[in-house]
C-alpha cells in the first residue's frame, strides 16, 4: 500500500511537468511555417482563399493563439488528440494503430539488452582484467560507438541479402493470411533484426554498469559473510550480489526510457516498421503538426509510465526505499 502511495504521488508530481511540456510544444509549433490548412491545400494542389478560410474555421485556426491553446488542452483532457490532416483520421486512432509495433520493439529490445547486459557484465566482473573481461569490455565500447541505423543496414546486407535468412523489413508478410502461431513466428522473424539493432547500444551501457556495480558489490562485507557461511559461488552471486548490483541498472532504464523511444524512431525507419517512430518521421516530413504533437504527448506518457514501473521495481528490489516514503 505504501508502495502504491509512493507511486501515485510520483505520478501526480509528473502531471504539471507534462502540462508544461505540452504548452511549450504547442507554442513552439506556432512558430512553424504554415499551418494544417496550408499542408492540406498543398497536398490537394492549392485551393482558393474562401475555401481555405472555411477550412481554418473547421479546424478552429481562425481564433487567437491563447484560445487555440485553451481548446487544445481541453480536448487533451478528453483524450481527443485532434484530426490528422494527412491520414484523414483522428490522431488518436492513427497512433493507436501504430503503438503496438513500437511497444513490442521497445519491450523486446529492453529485455534483450537487460538479459545480455547482465550476463556479460557478470562474466566480465568474474574474470576481471583477464581476456574474457577485455574482450567483453572492448565489445561494449564498440557497440556503444556503432550508429544503430548503420548496424541495421549492415545486418540487412548480411542476413537478408547475402544469406537470405531473414526478411529485410516490414512487420509481417503482407497478404500471407497467416493466423495464430504461424503469424507470431512470422512477426518474430521480422522483429529479430530490429530488436537486436535497437538493443545494441543499451546492451553496451548495461554491461558496463553491471560490471562496475558487480565489482563494487563483491567487495562488500555481506558478500564475505555469505561466503563465510558456506554458500556456493552461484548462490552468493545470484541471491546476494546480483540483487544489489541490479539497482544502478534499474535507475538507468528509467533515465533512458526517452532515449529508447528516440532510438525506435530511427530503427523503425531502417526496417520500414509501421510504428510510432515511423509515424513521427512522416509527420515531420509532411508537416502534419497535429499528429506530431499527439506523438510527443503519447511518448511523454510512455516515459512517465516506464519511470513508474521502474520506481515500483526499485522499491521491490530495495525495501528500504518503500519505507523512506
Amino acid at each position: 500500500m505504501r508502495l502504491l502511495a509512493l507511486a501515485s504521488r510520483r505520478l501526480l508530481a509528473s502531471l504539471p511537468t507534462l502540462l508544461l511540456v505540452l504548452v511549450g510544444l504547442f507554442l513552439l509549433l506556432q512558430l512553424a511555417p504554415g499551418d494544417t490548412v496550408d499542408a492540406l491545400t498543398a497536398q490537394i494542389g492549392g485551393g482558393d482563399p474562401a475555401m481555405m478560410e472555411q477550412l481554418r474555421q473547421f479546424y478552429g485556426l481562425d481564433v487567437s493563439v491563447p484560445i487555440q491553446l485553451g481548446r487544445y488542452l481541453w480536448r487533451l483532457v478528453q483524450l481527443d488528440l485532434g484530426f490528422s490532416s494527412i491520414y484523414g483520421k483522428p490522431v488518436a486512432s492513427v497512433i493507436l494503430e501504430r503503438l503496438p509495433v513500437t511497444l513490442l520493439l521497445m519491450l523486446s529490445s529492453l529485455l534483450l539488452a537487460i538479459a545480455a547486459g547482465t550476463a556479460l557484465g557478470i562474466l566480465a566482473a568474474r574474470r576481471v582484467h583477464r581476456w574474457p573481461d577485455t574482450l567483453i569490455s572492448t565489445l561494449g565500447l564498440v557497440f556503444y560507438a556503432t550508429p544503430s541505423f548503420w548496424f541495421g543496414l549492415m545486418s540487412i546486407v548480411l542476413f537478408s541479402i547475402y544469406l537470405g535468412w531473414l526478411p529485410p523489413g516490414g512487420f509481417e508478410e503482407i497478404g500471407g493470411g497467416l493466423t495464430g502461431l504461424a503469424r507470431a513466428m512470422d512477426i518474430a522473424t521480422h522483429m529479430l533484426l530490429p530488436t537486436v539493432t535497437l538493443a545494441l547500444i543499451f546492451l553496451a551501457i548495461y554491461l558496463r554498469i553491471m560490471r562496475a556495480s558487480m565489482l563494487e558489490v563483491m567487495t562488500l562485507d555481506y558478500v564475505r559473510t555469505a561466503r563465510a557461511k558456506g554458500l556456493g559461488e552461484a548462490g552468493v552471486l545470484l541471491r546476494h550480489a546480483l540483487r544489489n548490483a541490479l539497482l544502478p541498472m534499474v535507475t538507468l532504464i528509467g533515465l533512458q526510457a526517452g532515449t529508447l523511444l528516440g532510438g525506435a524512431v530511427v530503427v523503425e525507419s531502417v526496417f520500414a516498421l509501421p510504428g510510432l517512430g515511423r509515424l513521427a518521421y512522416d509527420a515531420v516530413t509532411q508537416r502534419d503538426l497535429n499528429t506530431l504533437l499527439g506523438i510527443v504527448f503519447v511518448s511523454a506518457l510512455l516515459v512517465i509510465a516506464v519511470n513508474l514501473v521502474v520506481d515500483l521495481l526499485y522499491a521491490r528490489l530495495d525495501p528500504r526505499i518503500g519505507g523512506r516514503a
Binding site: S14, G24, L28, L29, L141, W150, V266
Partner: protein, 277 residues
C-alpha cells in the same frame, strides 16, 4: 604522477587519443588533399573501392568521390560535435550551478525545466525543432546542443550541492566574498572535472544524433555529412553496400575515439580509482 602522465599510461585513453588524432588529421588534410567541392560530380558513379586509383574508396550513386566526402565529413562531424557539446555543457553548468548553489525555489524551477526535457525523447524533440526551424546545419547543431543539456546540469548541481556545504566555502562567506565570486572562482573549478569527463559522452551522442538525423534526410543536404552519405547509399544497398558501409565505419571510429578519450580522462582525473579492480 601528473594527470597527463596517468592519461598516457592508460591503454584505453592512449588508443582513443591516437584515433582522435587520426580523425583530426583527416579533417585538417581535407582542404589540401581534396580542394574541390566534395559534393561535385567526380567520375562515373558506383565504382567499387580499390578498382580505380583515382578513387581509392570508390564513388557513390551520384558519382561523388567517397574519399573526399569522408575527409570533409570529418570536419563536419568534429565541428558539430564540438559546438553542440560546448553549448550543451555551458547551459548545463550554468543551470546546475545556479540550482545547486541557491537551492530553494531557484532549484525547484530549474530542475522542473530539466525534467521537461527529460520527459521528452531527445530525438523526438530534435525532430520537432528541425520541423519548426529548418534543417540548416547551424540550426541542427544548435538544436542538438539544446536538447542534451539536462544531464550535465544534474551532474553540476550534484557537485555544487556537496561543495557548498564544505568548510572552505563557509570561510569564503565569512570573508565576505560575493556569490558570483564564490561560484565562479571557488566552487566551479572543483566541480568541473566530472563535467568535463561527461562532455566526452555528450560529444559522442551529438555526433550520433546528427548522423541519425542526416541519415533520415532531415539534416542539411548541402554539407558532406557522413550520415547523408549513408542515407544516399541506402538506395543501392542491395549490391553496392560499400557506399553505406564506409561512412558508418568513419562514424564508429570517431565516436569510439571520443568515448575512449573521455574514459581515459575519467581514470586520470580519479586517481582514487587506480589499483581498484
Amino acid at each position: 604522477m601528473s594527470t597527463l602522465g596517468r592519461f598516457l599510461r592508460n591503454p584505453a585513453g592512449l588508443i582513443g587519443l591516437l584515433l582522435l588524432l587520426l580523425v583530426v588529421a583527416a579533417a585538417l588534410s581535407a582542404p589540401s588533399l581534396y580542394p574541390d567541392d566534395p559534393l561535385r560530380l567526380a567520375g562515373r558513379p558506383l565504382q567499387w573501392p580499390l578498382t580505380n586509383p583515382r578513387f581509392p574508396l570508390g564513388t557513390d550513386n551520384t558519382g561523388r568521390d567517397i574519399a573526399a566526402e569522408i575527409l570533409h565529413g570529418a570536419r563536419i562531424s568534429l565541428a558539430i560535435g564540438l559546438v553542440a557539446t560546448l553549448l550543451s555543457v555551458t547551459i548545463g553548468i550554468a543551470v546546475g550551478a545556479l540550482a545547486g548553489y541557491y537551492g530553494g525555489w531557484v532549484d525547484d524551477a530549474l530542475m522542473r525545466i530539466a525534467e521537461m526535457f527529460q520527459i521528452l525523447p531527445n530525438f523526438l524533440l530534435l525532430l520537432v525543432l528541425v520541423a519548426v526551424f529548418g534543417s540548416e546545419i547551424g540550426t541542427v547543431t544548435l538544436a542538438i546542443g539544446l536538447v542534451s543539456w539536462p544531464a550535465s546540469a544534474r551532474l553540476t548541481r550534484a557537485e555544487f550541492l556537496t561543495l557548498r556545504q564544505r568548510e572552505f566555502i563557509e570561510a569564503c562567506r565569512t570573508l565576505g566574498m560575493r556569490d558570483a565570486q564564490i561560484i565562479l572562482r571557488e566552487i566551479l573549478p572543483n566541480a568541473l572535472p566530472p563535467v568535463i569527463v561527461y562532455a566526452g559522452v555528450v560529444m559522442a551522442t551529438a555526433i550520433l544524433l546528427e548522423s541519425a538525423l542526416a541519415f533520415l534526410n532531415l539534416s542539411d543536404p548541402n554539407v558532406p555529412s557522413w550520415g547523408n552519405l549513408i542515407g544516399a547509399g541506402r538506395a543501392v544497398l542491395r549490391v553496392q553496400w560499400y557506399v553505406s558501409a564506409i561512412p558508418g565505419l568513419a562514424i564508429l571510429v570517431t565516436v569510439l575515439a571520443v568515448s575512449l578519450v573521455g574514459q581515459g580522462l575519467n581514470d586520470a582525473l580519479n586517481p582514487r580509482l587506480r589499483g581498484r579492480p
